[in-house]
């Protein structure tokens, strides 16, 4: 069963007088419980696709449905609540609020729920435990290594138990060891916790950790290299 359904999506950016067609009728399904890597050169539309799936951006036309919700037609207020419930997002860098500790950063999505302080505390400790940072919870981002920062961001992305975890080049700024740690962690989240993961990456090695690899080029999926419908 497809968790993410993308139907005939067109996305056009207007940059000054230039019209940039990022997608021209993209159709794609991503199954629940899958670990999908999105690859492609710069400007191929990987991050834009991720933004459309997360409801951070709207398609010019077409439909984006995630977990049965019509993301492309929801109002901003509905989208915020929907994202809080369904989406965990990790960027390449600067994921964490520098003024908050690792613990407080991970707590952010839970502040939007009705959980009690005690319940929030249990969830945060569990999430930080999963990413192996129980001993860093009182540290501020500046006191963490790049890998630890990304793992904290992943803890924040999973702490509210979202339907879908989206990662936009999470290992792009990391050294090989930290990168491997993060990718292994994603594998574990997918296998042990059955999280549906979509990973945007340039790195072919990183993509090997995914169950499915989709190649985007000039806004289109390259035939025969993915789970395109």
């Amino acid at each position: 069963m497809a968790l993410v359904e993308i139907r005939d999506v067109h996305k056009v950016f207007q940059r000054d007088s230039d019209r940039v067609d990022v997608f021209s009728g993209l159709t794609l399904d991503i199954p629940e419980g899958s670990f999908t890597a999105l690859m492609g050169p710069s400007g191929s539309g990987k991050s834009t696709l991720l933004n459309l799936i997360a409801g951070l951006d709207r398609p010019s036309s077409g439909e984006v449905n995630v977990a049965g919700s019509p993301v492309s037609t929801m109002r901003p207020g509905q989208l915020a609540a929907w994202r809080a419930r369904h989406i965990g997002f990790v960027f390449q860098q600067l994921n964490l609020l520098p003024v908050l500790t690792a613990y407080q950063n991970v707590e952010l999505p839970l502040l939007l729920t009705r959980l009690s302080k005690k319940e929030r505390d249990e969830r945060i400790r569990l999430a930080l435990g999963v990413v192996g940072l129980e001993d860093r919870m009182k540290h501020y981002p500046r006191q963490l290594s790049g890998g630890q920062e990304q793992r904290t961001a992943i803890a924040r992305a999973i702490v509210a138990d979202p339907t879908l975890v989206l990662l936009d080049e999470p290992t792009g700024q990391l050294d090989a060891k930290s990168s491997e740690d993060v990718l292994n962690l994603l594998n574990r989240l997918n296998r042990e916790f059955n999280k549906t993961i979509i990973l945007v990456t340039h790195d072919a090695h990183a993509a090997t950790h995914a169950g499915t690899v989709l190649h985007l080029e000039k806004g289109a999926l390259i035939e025969g290299q993915g789970a395109a419908v």
């Binding site: 951070l56 901003p76 915020a80 989406i87 960027f91 600067l94 609020l97 952010l108």
Partner: protein
């Protein structure tokens, strides 16, 4: 409340800027409260006075005296129940750096006419008994560390010479607008020392019915119209107001400066808030990605503005209220009863709310409307 930590953490991001902005608002509101209190004190002083007391001065001007013989004629005016008189002395004490008012008064009639000046009966009697005695305000006694029974010497300026008095009484005003920074001595002693018996600086006339004030004042002035010293009679409130209105333009100036200071701080704090919000474009985008709604983000930025504005106003207005009361400030006797009123505190609180709205609204709306994708792209 669970978002308070985010608000405080953001404020702590640039501690110095937050401190300076808050301190700026505190100082602005302290100045505002001070300047407005000058105005309200002047207004209160202008309104002080019993409706049953009239003041008769020389029609040419208050610096010109009136014959003491007028007293009997004033007492004979229908509706007049009592008459007293006083003279401005204008001496200096010690090095003269600190000014306080000194008046020669007709002791018995003056104290009878001013029940607002309370002092123990035995001190009152001592003042009546001893010609060279004085009564002083409580503040004056405290400022100079004087004691009852102590001799003090005032150097006359208008009436030259050393004037030595014995402190026999300490009065406490029952109305805070009445100056407690004065020295009163006996008019008969004054008259004797200056060697030209029979002059008064002004008369205070008590009447039976405030409704007849206008009629009685006219009767008095008509009575002396063709005499060597024509009079000008009015209510005590009008007399006090005439002094206060000399400050009229000062009041306007004070109010204008106060509002200008507040406006300047408004611009500074708005700029600080906007800088702060601009620097956090990425953070706001991250929060939106997590699921923070536009409304929550609007509230968070407004809450920051509220913490700064309200803390600043609490400190500034609180300091003004506390400081002037603790130091018993009275502007060297020119601003008796100087105290920040509840009205001024409420007005200041209103300004703080306005500051909060004005400095927080723009960055809050910007944060709420910030498109996530644009923000992320801008930073990357």
């Amino acid at each position: 409340m669970k978002f308070l930590r985010i608000v405080l953490a953001n404020l702590a991001r640039h501690k110095r800027r937050t401190f300076l902005t808050t301190a700026g608002i505190a100082l602005a509101l302290f100045l505002f409260a001070t300047l407005r209190t000058v105005v309200t004190t002047l207004q209160a002083t202008a309104q002080f006075g019993s409706a049953r007391r009239l003041v008769t001065t020389n029609a040419t001007g208050i610096v010109f005296v009136l014959p003491l013989s007028y007293a009997e004629r004033l007492r004979a005016v229908p509706g007049v129940t009592a008459v007293s008189w006083a003279n401005w002395f204008g001496g200096k004490y010690g090095d003269g750096k600190r000014f306080f008012a000194q008046f020669a008064v007709d002791a018995q009639s003056y104290l009878a006419m001013y029940p607002e000046m309370t002092l123990p009966p035995e001190q009152r009697e001592a003042f009546f008994r001893e010609k060279t005695s004085v009564i002083v305000g409580r503040r004056l006694l405290d400022v100079y560390g004087w004691k009852l029974g102590q001799n003090i010497t005032i150097q006359g300026t208008i009436f030259p010479g050393d004037w030595t008095f014995t402190i026999r009484g300490v009065y406490t005003p029952s109305n805070k607008v009445l100056n407690d920074d004065m020295l009163l001595f006996r008019h008969d002693y004054f008259d004797e020392r200056i060697g030209r018996a029979g002059v008064a600086g002004w008369y205070v006339v008590e009447i039976d019915d405030p409704n007849n004030a206008g009629k009685i004042a006219k009767t008095i002035d008509d009575m002396f119209r063709n005499s060597s010293a024509a009079t000008k009679t009015g209510t005590e409130q009008a007399f006090n107001a005439s002094f206060a209105t000399m400050w009229g333009n000062v009041s306007l100036l004070m109010g204008t400066i106060g509002m200008a200071v507040v406006f300047a701080i408004l611009l500074v704090s708005t700029n600080a808030m906007m800088m702060s919000a601009r620097e956090r474009t990425r953070d706001i985008a991250v929060l939106k990605t997590i699921g923070f709604s536009d409304r929550v983000l609007f509230g968070l930025v407004m809450a920051e503005a509220a913490v700064i504005s309200l803390t600043g106003s609490f400190v500034g207005l609180g300091a003004a209220k506390w400081l002037y009361r603790a130091t018993n400030f009275n502007g060297a006797g020119f601003l008796p009863g100087f105290d920040v009123t509840v009205g001024t505190l409420l007005f200041g609180g209103g300004i703080a709310l306005l500051l909060m709205l004005a400095s927080g609204l723009v960055p809050a709306i910007q944060a709420a409307r910030l498109p996530v994708v644009v923000a992320l792209r801008r930073v990357e």
